[in-house]
Subunit: 467 residues, 2 copies
Amino acid sequence: MLLSRLRETVRSAQVLTAPEDTAAYLTDWRGRFTGRAQAVVLPSNTHEVAAIVSVCAEMRTPIVPQGGNTGLAGGATPDPSGAAIVLSLKRLNRVREIDPINGTITVEAGCVLHDVQQAAYGAGGLFPLSLAAEGSATIGGNLSTNAGGTQVLRYGNARELALGLEVVLPSGEIWSGLRALRKDNTGYDLRDLFIGAEGTLGVITAACLKTFPLPRSQVTALLALDSVSAALSLLPLAQSTAGPTLTAFEFFSIRCLQLVTRHFPQQRSPFERAHAQYVLLELSDHEDERHAAALLQSLAEQALEKGLIADAVIAQSAAQGRSLWMLRESISEAQAREGKNIKHDISVPISSIARFIDETDALLAQRFPGIRMVTFGHLGDGNLHYNVMPPAATDEDRFFHEQQSAVYECVHDQVARFSGSISAEHGIGQLKREENMRYKSPVEMNLMRAIKRTLDPLNIMNPGKVI
Amino acid sequence: MLLSRLRETVRSAQVLTAPEDTAAYLTDWRGRFTGRAQAVVLPSNTHEVAAIVSVCAEMRTPIVPQGGNTGLAGGATPDPSGAAIVLSLKRLNRVREIDPINGTITVEAGCVLHDVQQAAYGAGGLFPLSLAAEGSATIGGNLSTNAGGTQVLRYGNARELALGLEVVLPSGEIWSGLRALRKDNTGYDLRDLFIGAEGTLGVITAACLKTFPLPRSQVTALLALDSVSAALSLLPLAQSTAGPTLTAFEFFSIRCLQLVTRHFPQQRSPFERAHAQYVLLELSDHEDERHAAALLQSLAEQALEKGLIADAVIAQSAAQGRSLWMLRESISEAQAREGKNIKHDISVPISSIARFIDETDALLAQRFPGIRMVTFGHLGDGNLHYNVMPPAATDEDRFFHEQQSAVYECVHDQVARFSGSISAEHGIGQLKREENMRYKSPVEMNLMRAIKRTLDPLNIMNPGKVI
């Protein structure tokens, strides 16, 4: 019945039911979550999305919106009941408008992030959202999870990059909020309710995004430090010296670097000896390479003089800059090759990071002797990927089975003590739903539930996710 | 009964009822809106606010939150019925925490904007929200109206400057959302629901705000242009040359300048001859004065070469920079001295500004012969103060009485045609409530009403405002 109604709504070829066709949509890319669905439906425009949602509302069929299926919290994977449909936004992939004078690009939800960057670039603008999965993640998914990435320090999260949205509401109505305005104070901020809601309040079908003037040059440096504290003192120095040209302030520990050089032997540390911590700095400049390099040189000299850093390498070419970035960007993959690990995507106030790491490292070492910390992240945003590898020569699966929830609890309790967030940039999805409720106040949970009930009274939008 | 309950809740001295005590709270600063109230209540901390709201909820007493009473849309003035209380947040004026490493300042709602700027400055940081009323406007009011101002181009509206909020809900419960995090994806964005809601969904009692590294120097230039189109071509040139150091791109017409020099004879145009339009540029630099001045000089030369500007003055000192800014900042006051005018605080996509002005000027000239346009604003944000003075030697009051709503309608219809906003930075309050409903889609109005009903089922929070 549902299937025939859907096939009346869109062409049959847009309703997939054969296991070989649907499989790719029913498991997340890391293979952590698998579910079932009545069908995978692929509308090709907003009106088709609205029609599908209307049918589902009528038949009380749960809808799991999906973009590039690159999420890290299982937000786009259906549950095992098989009651839901997966609504793939992939075919909504048109760039609707580019307005270079207004500094905006209006795109459909299924546009791949990298294509959005390219379209903006083609019109002389920068769309700065940048993350590992950009080659397959879609902008709709990025907005639904309020994606972060490596340029947040300067440009903000996905939320800060969106001016307007078009959303299909759980009723099947279309909210046309595709404004291209920097200033608009004409009522409640509906836009930001849908951003970060992971498809539980409606389906984002298009967005008007900000673009920025393209910087003329980018220069990168890798700095070696003795401690996280030193990195925290370096940050304000970098900010006051470089101002808004500072576009990345990433950090990683020696263990991260060792994992990368072990699993990617073609990559190597640019330093002769090992240091405890590393900071990757990027400056994006509107003058020229020389000016940016001089600024970075002066910053490194000041940091050396003040004893904040032990050594520094400033990339002398774009290729060298790229290879410094590769060290940072290969950590996740190197970690995966090394073995399983318990990931925490957390944030705390930047000023507390050193204390957080010290205390939590000590706590974990005491409770789980031999565990190995793989700590890296977006230091300038207070965002740590604080990952835990089992002790060497342990039965990994057994460690996970027996200890994973205790490790989560230990780390997340610490995050709560430091007034941090247990999901800085990956969202809640199904992975952290229960966990999140443990830390949110009843007042906040009640507000969230009230909003959910109001917008989605039938509870058909991605049920079982977020709240 | 209400009064005695309130006096049990806070000290008697915090409950004002004598007309001489309450008068200042019952009329907005421009004298456009006047109302009545059962009392003006001045709590001194969040718990007192919560207790007052609880009493009002129990007794179904409407609450009109008020900060510095500098709003422009009557959002903080009670209606004439006298049923409401005015809840002044003035005494909640503590700076709770400054964290220079985290780049945050946590302040109570009643802190005056200028004091917040000063507190941030004292800790070596910049709190960039900047507007004419900053000497008396409070941060709670700024957030409740999502205030804009002159630095939005670079730093965003009040919304973009807030990381976390503490809010007393219409039930009297306290939502403690005072997070100091750049990244936090753990559920719905409640914060942005309260920002810009003009006190209709709850009372903001404190906020954690972003601070930025202090620029080392600021340089200002006034450029003379022949047309608004030229200004629109100048903007991308300025952005690509100066990048994020471009912190202001304001514009005004020759009539604005004439009004200023007429009413403030000590101020004068720095140009020998008159030009149709003027752009005020500000660069904020993290290197030094010389570097910023050279950048501005190079920008002006490029603009001259390309024929975008007719003349340029670059301030040679902070004092001269100040006097250029004074020309821009005196327009509102000069206008008021000249006589009454019909104000429109609107925005359109930046790329449409020239066409919007041309077409709307022509339309108004045809329908209301002799009217005089006073057009200025934040061009870099697409935000125009598009004000209409009656024809010279007209009976002003009669013109207003007979034509004001027709002028509003004509301008706002044009704004709608250009996909703009009828309230860019001043909010809706009581002034534009009806008008706003004419332009919002039923889908959007229904969403807003549903949210209002959910959060404030008794309709006690600032009823009659916004929606």
